[in-house]
């Protein structure tokens, strides 16, 4: 009996101690996922009578991970970072500025934002009351959209402790004059492509900084409220982080660069092989990584890295999707692929995406030129040609093309990835032209995009050659998204806020015409989802023409 009592007593002391020290990490989990300390879902009521639980939505849904709020379809969700909550509410003009001008807003939105109710700073008590009862510090009921949450004491303490930290961290990579940005290039990438990308970045940076310097010299000169926004202006410093050797050593190299000068974001970039180690680096240091030029994104995207497409996986999935429509059963498909990632990855994706079609799918891997030659000779020696030949040549595109030119009728239909299109000569033997197809996760040549003209004109006006339009246009896209994103966050240098902006605005008019459409949304990380199957047509104005509709395969994630 006494032992039981002591046990109880000890237990309650333990509880008191636990209550006394709120757990910020658990508060964060409650904010982002709506889970209580003991892992249960929080429940709440919105709009007066709509019950929901946190598997449906949580604080971060509306106020976003950054705490800077959002506006969607005319519904304005205010920022609730510590500095907003624990100060009297007075809107910064710069904050209002972009909320008002970025989006067409209904009259109710304007009314709300123009005459914000003045409210005193929150205290712990008024904050808990706002979250539980939807009553603001003036005692007035809040907008019914703000849910009334059922949250117990311990969880509320954790949540309040987290809210007190929200938005208070100063992200590394930015000081009061300069914002540091990195781009990453690896050994062994095509020097022409690399230099075209770097020249575009360099020219953009110079152009931005010229403008910024001018504005900083004239801080009171104020067309379009500039003087309000000026506190967000920073000169861009862009460093080129060069990676050498084995990808296994990249993390250490990246860490060393980052230690030397932390960056606010990583922009564009190009390496040979998979982007995975860089994605991991960005995740570890919580650095937004914007639109690298890669056909091998990490197999699973994470929060910090945005890609243009799923690369070779997308090409393989789109090809499988299109073949499935024409396969009758009993066909032979030979898949010839490099043993490297650029061969292995799409070959596996293709096999998986083809699923249980009743065909004979034969994989043939090669690891070097000799191996390729042997496989190709074996193909020629076959008694019966395969119906389909799918090739993922990795770095051996040139050899594959030469060989196809010599043996054009090697299979019923021949499929190559987009990376090889540039290696095809202007004139193809008719026997090859009629059976050759290319997967193409880009806009088709000749499609009309008004912004493409602007981008081209800009590049020209900076005196740049345009040897690799797609790479340069894609780089320009990453640059302009960053430019707009930084303008939007003004001086709230939160990386999460930048990411939320990109999720929100990627679908706007910045598409430089390299893809039919670029679009994201909360949690989305691939801006373009589809591909065409193209064929060569020497009679057409454009040597590559569409042989399919835009195919959007189910990515399976």
């Amino acid at each position: 009996m006494i032992r039981r009592l002591i046990f109880l007593l000890a237990g309650s002391i333990f509880c008191v101690v636990a209550l006394a020290a709120p757990d910020i990490e658990l508060g964060k989990r409650l904010y982002e996922q709506g889970l209580t300390a003991d892992g249960k879902e929080v429940t709440a009521v919105t709009q007066g009578d709509i019950e929901f639980s946190s598997s449906q939505f949580s604080c971060a849904n509306c106020h976003r991970r950054s705490g800077y709020g959002s506006s969607e379809g005319g519904q304005f969700v205010p920022p609730i970072t510590a500095s907003y909550l624990f100060n009297k509410r007075e809107w910064h003009r710069s904050y209002l500025f972009d909320k008002m001008f970025k989006e067409e807003q209904p009259a109710s939105f304007w009314a709300k934002i123009r005459q914000p109710r003045v409210r005193p700073a929150f205290t712990r008590e008024t904050l808990a009351r706002a979250i539980r009862e939807g009553v603001d510090p003036n005692g007035k009921p809040m907008d019914p959209l703000m849910p009334r949450f059922r949250i117990g004491k311990e969880d509320m303490d954790n949540l309040l402790a987290y809210l007190a930290t929200l938005g208070t961290q100063v992200a590394p990579g930015v000081d009061d004059k300069v914002i540091h940005i990195a781009t990453i290039v690896g050994d062994g990438v095509d020097p022409g492509k690399r230099d075209a990308m770097l020249a575009t970045i360099e020219a953009f940076k110079d152009w931005m900084n010229l403008d910024t310097r001018g504005d900083l010299r004239n801080p009171r000169f104020s067309p379009h409220y500039r003087s309000d926004l000026i506190k967000g202006y920073r000169l861009w410093d862009i460093r080129v982080w060069r990676l050498h050797g084995d990808p296994a050593s990249w993390p250490a190299q990246l860490d060393a660069y980052y230690r030397e000068q932390p960056v606010f974001a990583v922009l564009s970039g190009m390496v040979q092989g998979a982007w995975t180690p860089i994605q991991r680096f960005c995740h570890q240091h919580e650095v937004p990584c914007l639109f690298p030029i890669t056909d091998q994104p990490a197999p699973r995207p994470d929060y910090y890295t945005f890609y243009l497409t799923r690369g070779l996986r997308l090409e393989a999935d789109a090809l499988a999707e299109s073949l499935k429509e024409q396969l009758q059963g009993g066909e032979t498909i030979v898949q010839l692929h490099a043993a490297s990632g650029a061969g292995q990855v799409p070959a596996q994706a293709f096999r998986a995406a083809l699923g249980d079609q009743k065909v004979s799918l034969q994989d043939r891997a090669f690891s070097d030129e000799d191996g390729l030659k042997k496989q190709l000779e074996a193909l020629v020696a076959r008694k019966k040609q395969p119906d389909y030949l799918v090739i993922w040549p990795g770095r051996h595109g040139g050899e594959v093309v030469d060989w196809l030119l010599a043996h054009p009728a090697i299979a019923g239909e021949i499929y190559l990835p987009s990376s090889i299109a540039a290696a095809l000569p202007e004139k193809l033997p008719p026997a090859l032209e009629e059976r050759l197809y290319v997967t193409w996760p880009y806009e088709y040549p000749g499609a009309y995009h008004p912004r493409a003209f602007r981008v081209r004109a800009w590049l020209r006006s900076r005196g740049l050659d345009i040897p690799y339009p797609r790479i340069q246009f894609d780089t320009y896209y990453a640059l302009t998204i960053l430019q707009y994103g930084l303008a939007h966050i003004v001086d709230h240098f939160s990386r999460d806020y930048l990411i939320e902006y990109i999720e929100h605005e990627a679908e706007n008019a910045l598409n430089p015409g390299t893809y039919p459409r670029l679009s994201l949304g909360p949690g989305q990380r691939f801006a373009s989802r589809g591909a065409y199957i193209m064929r060569r047509n020497s009679l057409d104005r454009y040597p590559l023409t569409r042989a399919s509709e835009w195919i959007v395969p189910d990515s399976g994630d």
Binding site: T46, Q47, G48, D49, I50, E51, F52, S55, Q56, F57, N61, C62, R64, S70, E72, G73, G74, Q75, V77, E103, E104, P106, P144, L145, H504, E505, E507, N508, A509, S519, G521, P522, G523, Q524, R529, G530, V552, D554, S555
Partner: protein
Amino acid sequence: MKNIPATFRMSPRGGSCAIALACAALLVAPGAPAADDELEAIRAQLSSVCRHKTPTEGRFKKSWLHVRVPDVTLTNRYGKPVELAPLIEDHSTVVQFIFTTCTTICPVLTASVRKVREQLAELDPDLRFVSISIDPEQDTPRRLRNYAKRFGASGRWTFLTGDRHDIMHVLKAFGAYYPGNNKMYHKPYTFLKAGKGSRFERIDGLMGGADFVAEYRRLMQPAIASAKR
């Protein structure tokens, strides 16, 4: 009901409920004391005519529109083709446009349907609920299935995705196309229709459950229903 003056029976809802209740009590009190159940009946009658302001009242705008549903075939959350026009034209319907990664307004729109679904189905057994994704390249049937599950969807509640161009046609037919060509700017619309025909009531704004049900009840009134075609 005999003791309730006619003025009360017709009384519009409004802020004078408290006074009305007090008067009713007075009216009932003199003479023979009313039986408890009689009082109860009066209270019920009164509270139905003068209900309290709902939390979302006045927070949404209403308008009428005729929709010519485009002749498109979309895909439901099980990957099956669904012809849109017959689904919508021949039945009472509630239509919303959503996407599964939307953070603020779609979850609330969807949760509002879940809230009223059973109640409305009882009022109008013909009623169907249709949630159409405006992000079809992202929202595969599998993702729609997960979303529907998250919101406990069941019964006659169809979630649709499909070809992007088809969906853009549908959005335009409903006057729901968003500015800036950016789905993040879509509006919180709910379209309601009681019975066959093409005339919808468009609600612009987020409704609580009480208002949702009240709006639909109003649509079912014979006078409004007969004007709908």
